[in-house]
């Protein structure tokens, strides 16, 4: 029972263009969402988060959008840079403090 899903295992974009990474969730009780970025041989690092009271949160080139009715969130990276190439995980904390991760999307930004 995977409550957080990232249905695209990989995404390839050209440098300078927009990267859009998608995430769906099934538990309507989730009220906070996080995106993590992971480089090979490193642990995930926090990137950006959004509370369910908002529908958008922006931090530099990174913007997360939340559509509660669709139980969908997306991470936009504009403009994409080669250094953004990594695996991106979306995650949501359960009410027991358990952080539930999606399976990740591998982003490749081509120079």
């Amino acid at each position: 029972d995977q409550q957080v899903k990232q249905n695209s295992p990989s995404l390839s974009v050209q440098e300078g263009r927009i990267s859009i990474l998608n995430c769906d969730y099934t538990n309507s009780m989730f009220d906070y969402f996080l995106w993590y970025k992971k480089y090979p041989a490193e642990g995930p690092t926090f990137l950006i988060s959004i509370s369910s009271i908002k529908d958008k949160n922006e931090d530099g080139r990174f913007t997360v959008f939340l559509n509660k009715s669709a139980k969908h969130l997306s991470l936009h990276i504009v403009p994409s840079q080669p250094g953004d190439s990594a695996v991106y995980f979306c995650a949501a904390p359960s009410n027991t403090g358990k952080l539930i991760f999606g399976q990740g999307t591998t982003l490749q930004v081509k120079p």
Partner: protein, 114 residues
């Protein structure tokens, strides 16, 4: 200065052996975790400790035993290793267990059981 450090980074061992993975955080966080990233790349929580007290224990075989000597350390001991235990194990820490800001992860320990 590493915030969450775990050792070793790589661990290759034979079936049936007992091994430990150590984790230390210097962030002053109250809560520490162990996650397992399986072959399908899912990151799943195994255990969570808050101030040395176990608060989350997912459906993990009894062969896995976390130990928290103090709130800055959470070690993972695995008995009678099996092939299916091969995975990358991540330690993490966060401040508190309720409202989430972010969790800080170690670099992972790639365990290979042969």
């Amino acid at each position: 200065d590493t915030a969450v450090s775990q050792t070793p980074k790589y661990l290759v061992t034979q079936m049936g052996n007992d091994k430990s993975i150590k984790c230390e955080q210097n962030l002053g966080h109250d809560t520490m975790y162990w996650y397992k990233q399986d072959s399908k790349k899912f990151l799943k929580i195994m255990f969570s400790y808050n101030n040395k007290e176990l608060i989350i224990n997912e459906t993990v075989p009894n062969r896995f035993s976390p130990k928290s000597p103090d709130k800055a350390h959470l070690n993972l001991h695995i008995n009678s290793l099996e092939l299916g235990d091969s995975a990358v194990y991540f330690c993490a820490s966060s401040q508190g267990t309720g409202e989430w800001t972010e969790a800080f992860f170690g670099q992972g320990t790639r365990l290979t059981v042969v």
